[in-house]
Subunit: 461 residues, 3 copies
Amino acid sequence: MALRNKKTAILLVICQIVFIILFGVFVDYAPDADARHPGNSHDQNGTDHENNSLKMYYPMFQDVHVMIFVGFGFLMTFLRRYGFGAVGLNFLLAAFVIQWSLLVQAFFEVGQHGGGRFEIDVTTMLTSDFACAAVLISFGSLLGKASPIQLITMALIEIVIFTINEHIGVGLFSAVDVGGSMYVHAFGAYYGLAVARVLYKNSHKENPKEESNYHSDLFAMIGTIFLWMYWPSFNSALAPADDQHRAVLNTYLALAACCVVTFAISSLTDAKGHWDMVHIQNATLAGGVAVGTSADMMLHPFGALMVGSVAGMISTLGYKYLTPFMANRLKIHDTCGVHNLHGMPGVMAGVIGAIMAGIASTQEYEYEDIHEVFSLVQPGIGRSAMAQGAYQALALAVTLVFAIVTGALTGLLLRLKIFDQPEGGMIHDDAAWWGTPEDFTVEVVNGNKSAKGLMTEMEDK
Amino acid sequence: MALRNKKTAILLVICQIVFIILFGVFVDYAPDADARHPGNSHDQNGTDHENNSLKMYYPMFQDVHVMIFVGFGFLMTFLRRYGFGAVGLNFLLAAFVIQWSLLVQAFFEVGQHGGGRFEIDVTTMLTSDFACAAVLISFGSLLGKASPIQLITMALIEIVIFTINEHIGVGLFSAVDVGGSMYVHAFGAYYGLAVARVLYKNSHKENPKEESNYHSDLFAMIGTIFLWMYWPSFNSALAPADDQHRAVLNTYLALAACCVVTFAISSLTDAKGHWDMVHIQNATLAGGVAVGTSADMMLHPFGALMVGSVAGMISTLGYKYLTPFMANRLKIHDTCGVHNLHGMPGVMAGVIGAIMAGIASTQEYEYEDIHEVFSLVQPGIGRSAMAQGAYQALALAVTLVFAIVTGALTGLLLRLKIFDQPEGGMIHDDAAWWGTPEDFTVEVVNGNKSAKGLMTEMEDK
Amino acid sequence: MALRNKKTAILLVICQIVFIILFGVFVDYAPDADARHPGNSHDQNGTDHENNSLKMYYPMFQDVHVMIFVGFGFLMTFLRRYGFGAVGLNFLLAAFVIQWSLLVQAFFEVGQHGGGRFEIDVTTMLTSDFACAAVLISFGSLLGKASPIQLITMALIEIVIFTINEHIGVGLFSAVDVGGSMYVHAFGAYYGLAVARVLYKNSHKENPKEESNYHSDLFAMIGTIFLWMYWPSFNSALAPADDQHRAVLNTYLALAACCVVTFAISSLTDAKGHWDMVHIQNATLAGGVAVGTSADMMLHPFGALMVGSVAGMISTLGYKYLTPFMANRLKIHDTCGVHNLHGMPGVMAGVIGAIMAGIASTQEYEYEDIHEVFSLVQPGIGRSAMAQGAYQALALAVTLVFAIVTGALTGLLLRLKIFDQPEGGMIHDDAAWWGTPEDFTVEVVNGNKSAKGLMTEMEDK
């Protein structure tokens, strides 16, 4: 056990040292943050607070930052014996990915455009946080079932593939996705599910530790509510002017409708008509994913409400019927139900995005604005709206195939003994990795082992 | 029970469908968020991030959003067996009201100014969130005692009356209320108290489930602190320039003083000198309400501290002495003590606003600025300061009468059997509406029923 | 007991009344918030939302505000029986210090520049919140061991000394410290540690109530994560343009590296390789402190990562080895380990700041920009970079000496019987000061007393 955990620590130390070296070689400040940049000095009237890009993006960046660290972190604390792991590993993974993702972006940038260094500023902080989201979504499907070293290794691989996929979709196809519903949510979900499938063990199913308690459910609601509130920032942070304003409105409305419909469907599908906290914690957010690709398009308010409503319905039904089916029949055990919150709504977002792009017209967009939303579309000159719709669909398809294939391959790698996949009493249990306080007693799950024996077993590993 | 809960779900589905249709007919993007608006496109230099109204209002909007969903939601989790209901119903009601309030605003707008659609943008998101606050305050007085269907019906009615009242006060009387202390807080409180009075049952009194536990009190503090911190945004979000700056300062100072005084009075009124978490969770916020109407007026820093100090004192004394009196003698049972946090401080805010308006002079306001704060006041030409003060008082009086009368009528409606008012073991208990985890055991409150019998009773309903 | 608590309350009432009077005499709105200021009115095109300083600083102010009230408040809830005290006293102290700190600033301002009043606006709200941080850091070293009246008295004294020290460092030496790592963190830590040393009692050591439980550790993580996320705002809030942008980037990167290294060292120093929640809750933040003084300097991204990495290592090792040593050998019992989170990293920050200032050159800073970062440095004309480095070191040394000496003197004062230092069962226990719910039972810590006896003892005091 000690050795296993220290192996993880040594990997972290090595990575951190390598990160520092690579940052030294490849990364530097963007002009807006660089004291060497002439435009920044006082006397040239360059020190203009309002025009520094920081002011433009920072408030929304912080909203996204809260979603990543508080939102995802606390959302996953619902397990009654894995709260430290949820918020703690979320913290570690995100802090790790922030650095690694900047480096991978740097490799691509320097690789493509040659010489010089990758310049970071508040917008690359945003793209780094988006990359975190993909990894944390994958983590959600593996919550409680993967060792820290598996998760860190997965993060190292996933970020590379995530970045390649985004370059194909955005760079090659010019398929837009303002809220990252395809490139972040669908990618992260299907990649994670593929890993979960390959790592599947029978002990993942019907594990008595895979339960919440009353207060762990309340901790999870902290995550839910912060994700829900700040999602408009996630879907609009990098969009310009009216596109951003529209993305905020559409996301806000989609989430409001999604919340209402989730409550309705949760009750309607329960024998006693009770609400299920799993649905309220998760499916209420599906509207933010489902509207992500088309958030800056001309959905109109009623369209945003429709998207949110359908997403809430699909997501809740997914938690109710599809998750157990996938676990029992397909051996895909999805701890947080990311398929319902990020997978299906992400696909839905991609499809809606393709349709909205396909029907985009100069009736709905001022001539120059259509070009602003869909960079290559210029009716009569450049790409047609219909073609844009097709490229959007293509980007979605490539994302799904790419995520599933590379996720499965990653899973195969992570099954190697060296990655110490947890089993038995270690699953969904903080005792395996954390110093725990006195009230966190050992819990025997399989009857035939004494508490003492279990603890020793866990510690010996 | 199942039927009862599913009835609520069906109402939600119907409302959501109607909302979508009405949004399609009545609501569209404001120009700042509309891709069809010529001023928004790149080539006309219209895509100016800084000048889009989103940038001006969005950070404060998000602060208010946090107050509504985290602030109100977690503040009410103090009950040891109603945490899901507190944060969950708060979430549902607010998501519901966001939509409904936009529609009611649309009806008034389209009704008054004819043709076209109601245009939404970040400022209507703010007014919608303010409307949520009114409903959530009313919810506070009913916490644990009303069924979801009662609350949703109340929200449908309350928003219409809230909007009418605000139109009378702002439109007819030009009575200003920058922080909504009269139109939101006092209205929401007295409306809710009137409903609570009509719905009163003996089981509301001295219910052993109306208690906190150690951790539920800490969850509630999450709500308190977020409300306290972001209240300056609530009181200033829609004010311009220096008025906004002044409203922030006044609210910040009033809240600081209010917190200090609340701690003092809480201890002084306790036999052992102990602090009472109910006071700390609630009365510390009263300064934000009490300074709401006059926040953008020339209170001066010492005036803001005085307002906050008095509010903290009144509110704490209210919790200590008035709440039990109202419950025992007047049959007004006020679960969250909204009378102390929103009612009395709201009235105080209105009175201070009237006085400050009445004594406003060109000594204290640059000539044009007085006009900016009190839209109709133009000494020597338009309305006099004294007249403005009278109109402020009139708006307060109308608000109170309107809230109490319509609240009582709403209560009468909600007593109908079809609205399933909870009773007995269902009161202050999540088990009636929520799937609950294993550690949330059935609790017998009236001795003569077995736990099993109680549960069956609750489930049968 | 009752008397003791009421004495505190009476002190609060007196202070609040005095504060109101002093605000009336010494404090008024700054022009940007003053309706009498001609530039603010509509018709002179003065009402320009974008140019009011509120817009420039308010979002970051709110981030800092969240750090003070949610961050510090919840971080300290880790003790299983002192959660009310942690978040409650944090709330009271900060609300108290906000006012007192504005007054002390006013005394200095009016004293130095004569006549008129101290003008407050959003920037003084920021400096007030920074002052709170110093007091709350000192509070951290005393958590659970000091009476409220001791803490309030300490705050009254500490703010005066804090302000003097900052005037010496910034005013006299022109030693810069953008994130306040010397003037706020190191000062607050060493001042608090000196107080803790003088107040030391044997019962502070190995107290069975100085423990967390599973959920108190999760509440503490709320504080940790909010501090971690918003720290870039703390370190950059008052810096201009590119300096601010750079401070954000450096802090963001330092914190990311610090988090990763903390996880690694925490595991490597544990026999079982387990992570220790104390380290994760605290040492992950040390990077924000350590980079504070040099955050706006040209550290470059790799430099920021290095600073964060070293800080995480030092801080974790401090919690592991130094804190027990200090408690056992030096009789310095440091409940929250502020020496590891604010003390050593604060000193490290000062040293790095001095080095970075000493090597600052016109290669690394555009000529005018070096002047912007280090106000007096103007190579060839004014102060040299090397001299600036020396002044930075001097400011650090003065801060440390000043903090320790005045802290010890403060501690001597607070030992007077009138300040009611808690002992025995009162230590680390909310029961001494708070009304507590039923599930918070009396806990006997020294075996030879009945629960009943203990409670009576605590109540009698």
